[in-house]
Amino acid sequence: MRKAGIGAIDKKRLMEARLKDHGEEIAAEQLKQLSTSLETFRVKLQEFAMKHKNEIRKDPEFRRQFQEMCASIGVDPLASSKGFWSDMLGIGDFYYELGVQIVEICMANNHKNGGIMPLEELFHRLVKSKGSTASQGLATDDVLRAIEKLKILGNGFSIIQLDRGRILIQSVPGELSLDQNQVIKAAQQNASITLLELKVKLGWQEDRSRKILNDMVAGGLAWIDTQTGASNSDILYWFPSLFNANINTL
């Protein structure tokens, strides 16, 4: 009984081992197939890029879709300025150049807006500085991609998403504190907020709210308005960057 029992167990183990081998074989085979098809896809993608080089350069919508296609197989044509993709398409240079111009524009306007600029304003300024021919086919999507790349250099640049697809570009060195970020989001509808509104909206203590607002005034991000009419003690804190994003002018 005992012997037979051991034999049965051995047999079972042998079976399991074989199955496992077989399973690994299948997995390896699948992996091989997958990587071949990925490789094929990559080759096709390169061929595609080669063939549609000009459209990729000139047509922003085409470029965006191409980027998405690349991202889906883990290729980042912007990852470095060397290598097949950039040599091939020159798009590495394109975004590199755009990045430099973005830094220039943001730095030149930091003293005016406290380092926060609506995406549309940045885009218009870019178009203005590049000239109309050079900026033909430039899309806000490209600006966002270039900013994503700038993040590699440190935390100098970030993108703040507001409601209804509005976007602010922040270029002050050192990020906005989480609290400041929340204030901006709380104030986005009217481009302004009072101490009381802030306390109610975010459920903050008065001291905390007051400190953040004062910090933002001190940092040039907020302007105060004492002529609010109803009760004089209620100062309105205004954010020029939000105000400009709302009226959508320069």
Partner: protein, 178 residues
Amino acid sequence: MASKERFEMPWQYNFPPFFTLQPNLDTRKLQLEAWSALILKYFRSHRLHIIDVNEAQSSPLFHNVSLNRKLSTETIQLILEELRRTGHLEWMDKQKRRGWILWRSVDDWAKLLYRWAIDNGMSNTVCTLYDLLHGHDTADEEFHNMDQDLMQRALKALELQKKAEVISMDGNIGVKFF
């Protein structure tokens, strides 16, 4: 000559805190610069030359009725002082109640007057101050209908350069350009 182009207020005019003096000094500097630029543009576009501090608040420039916001007299004085510092304002009285807004400097006005006289063959003839200010011939000029005292300041400058002579003729003032 580009005459009275339609004046468009800058975006700040509709930004309510623009009418409250900012406590942050950097922001305040931006604010005063923007106000200075706005005042000069507004005065130029409306061909105005004199500001009266007591009346300033009733001008739409300093009072945005639709926003229900206006600059305080103290802030207006601060901005005017900034304009004086940059050479764009000259007080007419010691109390600093009235001043010339110089969207052109006195020397620039002098040059403009002299050029007009030469271009129009008025050298060595006498024309009256009244004609210079309100005459048909100067209707298209920027100095048309300008403040009389300011024009006299410009003529005085030309006199010092020996390019003109101001002559008093029984109550009227005449100018001879050389």
